[in-house]
């Protein structure tokens, strides 16, 4: 029964996101992306709803939470109805899949079910889960609001979006259950695969799209955070939002529609409120948006570039007013430049850690070499540049960090989680840099001729 409530809550978040996208025509040019992106949008808006209710002293009860979304549905019913058909059409397909496509579909579904089984198997065991993310969710649920005194007790300066998402589900559950809540974290794993597949399928073909989705979801570190052992952390969630924001940016780059720009601003705000690391990604993306608008002389839209900052500034002001810690405790203001070489070596070690990442980062590094030396630069450069700029930020943070424990152990214990933020986007970059469909076709022809020879 508890599992059913969590599943219905996930559907509820998808419906909120879907409703907002359809009501305001935010992704009309790419209906295939609507549902996988709706989950992230719905969760983000739901969490912000709890935050706003708490600030306005409105009670957190299910009826009060559902009412505004029902009202929006009634008010915008005609536009929602009109935009719904292209979305449904993009899901339903009469296309016949090849045997290989079916095989990789089956393997991908198997992985998603495996992660679901594992997520629902144990109560939270991950340190960051019970010491941070789910601890705060539990506090919010018991306190029935966001109390600054509780945040001071926890000594947390992290944004609250992920915690509030879990609290939202606790409200629907009407009790705390730290096992079934992990299904909510699993949902991000499944929807990361969905966004990745849907976008890649549109850019390439079904077979390379499903193969790369399988490769992404079978990566051990991603699978672990999706359901096995390490579920309950926010790193994969940030990875999902960075992927969504990147895809929306590429969409905006292609169609230059203001609705995509607005949706991008919403996603960048959510990304910045998942974890502090998201702020750097949002800044880097906004630089691309800024130059894009200047290049196309869309000066009037420049003001929109600052939309995402509003909720971020509001959160920083709340921290200031409430006397919460301002900067993460691990940061110091004295740089340790002598660490430079060590950090680079540790970074490379992690990139080549096949037991954790399979060949994800090796392929990314090799393909970035290919992209940099290629004569024709494409829009995929955006994906490479954002990943590299984010890696640079992590490098600088390690230069300035004061962990209190051994520095090498600190990097080893944290860098694999930081890479989770970037892994889906990095693989998307690798996957769309080459014509893998042509490579697969070639292989198919070769195998066929080899097979024919044996038969003769």
């Amino acid at each position: 029964m508890n599992e059913l409530v969590v599943f219905l809550s996930i559907v509820y978040f998808v419906l909120i996101g879907l409703e907002v996208i359809l009501a305001f025509g935010l992704l009309s040019e790419s209906p295939f992306l609507t549902i996988p992106i709706s989950f992230g949008l719905g969760t983000g808006m739901g969490s912000m709803q709890l935050y706003i209710y708490s600030r306005l002293n409105i009670g957190w009860n299910p009826i009060l939470l559902i009412t505004p979304w029902l009202m929006l549905f009634v008010l915008k019913f005609s536009s929602i109805k009109k935009s719904l058909f292209p979305v449904l059409n993009s899901i339903i397909t009469n296309k016949k899949f090849s045997l290989f496509s079916k095989l990789f579909f089956a393997l991908t579904i198997l992985l998603i079910l495996l992660a679901l089984f594992e997520a629902d198997l144990r109560p939270v065991t991950l340190w960051d889960g019970f010491a941070g993310w789910l601890m705060i969710s539990k506090i919010f649920f018991i306190d029935k609001s966001i109390k600054s005194s509780s945040l001071i007790y926890i000594n947390s300066e992290y944004p609250l979006l992920v915690n509030l998402g879990a609290t939202y589900i606790y409200i629907f559950l009407s009790h705390i259950n730290d096992r079934v809540i992990l299904i909510y974290f699993w949902a991000y794993y499944a929807f990361t695969g969905a966004v990745f597949f849907q976008y890649l399928k549109k850019i390439t073909k079904t077979l390379p799209a499903i193969i790369f989705t399988f490769l992404l979801l079978s990566t051990q570190n991603i699978l672990r955070h999706g359901g096995r052992y390490d579920v309950g952390d926010a790193d994969l969630i940030l990875g999902y939002y960075i992927l969504c924001s990147s895809v929306i940016y590429l969409n905006f780059h292609k169609y230059k529609k203001i609705s995509s720009l607005i949706l991008l601003q919403v996603f960048l705000a959510i990304t910045s409120l998942v974890k502090n690391e998201g702020i750097f990604f949002s800044l880097a993306t906004e630089i691309f948006v800024f130059f894009n608008l200047i290049k196309h002389k869309k000066y009037r839209d420049l003001l929109l570039v600052f939309l995402w900052i509003i909720p971020v500034v509001d959160w920083q002001l709340y921290k200031l007013i409430s006397n919460l810690p301002k900067v993460p405790g691990y940061l110091s203001f004295s740089p340790h430049y002598e660490r430079t070489f060590k950090i680079l070596v540790l970074f490379l070690k992690e990139f080549f850690n096949i037991s954790r990442w399979n060949f994800l980062w090796i392929l990314f590094l090799a393909s970035s070499g290919y992209i940099i030396t290629a004569k024709k630069k494409s829009v995929t450069m955006f994906l490479y540049l954002t990943v590299f700029s984010q890696l640079l930020v992590y490098f600088i943070v390690y230069i300035f960090s004061d962990s209190g424990v051994g520095f090498v152990a600190y990097v080893q214990n944290t860098f694999d989680r930081l890479l989770l933020h970037l892994a889906p986007t990095a693989l998307l970059g690798s996957a769309i840099s080459f014509d893998f469909q042509a490579i697969l076709n070639k292989l198919h022809v070769k195998m066929r001729s080899y097979y024919d020879k044996i038969l003769i």
């Binding site: 198997l110 198997l121 789910l134 007790y153 193969i211 079978s218 990566t219 060949f359 090799a366």
Partner: protein, 148 residues
């Protein structure tokens, strides 16, 4: 240069597919052979098998201390502190280290003190501290609970 990189990429791509298929099947077999045993256990049995004494301690705190009180815990084991803090909320748990002196306990801030058996205590407990309970696993004592 570009052709060589391209060939490397194709090689990595196919190698990765093969490795991933094997790993997925290996994960499935692990679920069937190892994790499936957990299905019949209750959540508390799973917590006990994973957290051991930290779970026993948190249950013990729940048993002896009414919700909403404030506890000072003296332990070297950070899991004991963080897991208890998570499990017993709205009871508030604070970590005290060995440098804490009697005056640091304050007059009425903490209502209870939990003293881990393995904790190297260098200061005396405040006067008036009264032992109200002992937390035990099947073999030995884990911690003592004092009210102030």
């Amino acid at each position: 240069m570009n052709k060589t990189i391209f060939k490397i990429i194709i090689f990595i791509f196919f190698l990765w597919i093969i490795v991933s298929i094997f790993r997925t099947l290996n994960n499935v077999s692990k679920v069937l052979t190892e994790d499936f045993k957990l299905v019949t256990k209750t959540d508390d049995q799973k917590r006990l098998s994973f957290f051991g004494d930290s779970f026993i301690l948190s249950e013990c705190l729940r048993k002896f201390i009414p919700p909403g009180k404030t506890i000072a815990i003296m332990t070297n084991n950070l899991t004991n502190f963080f897991y208890s803090r998570y499990q017993v909320y709205p009871t508030k748990v604070y970590l005290l280290d060995s440098k804490i002196t009697q005056s640091n306990f304050g007059k009425s801030y903490f209502q209870y003190i939990v003293l881990d058996k393995n904790f190297n205590q260098t200061s005396a407990l405040p006067s008036g501290a009264k032992k109200i309970g002992v937390c035990k696993n099947t073999k030995s004592n884990i911690a003592d609970i004092y009210s102030l």
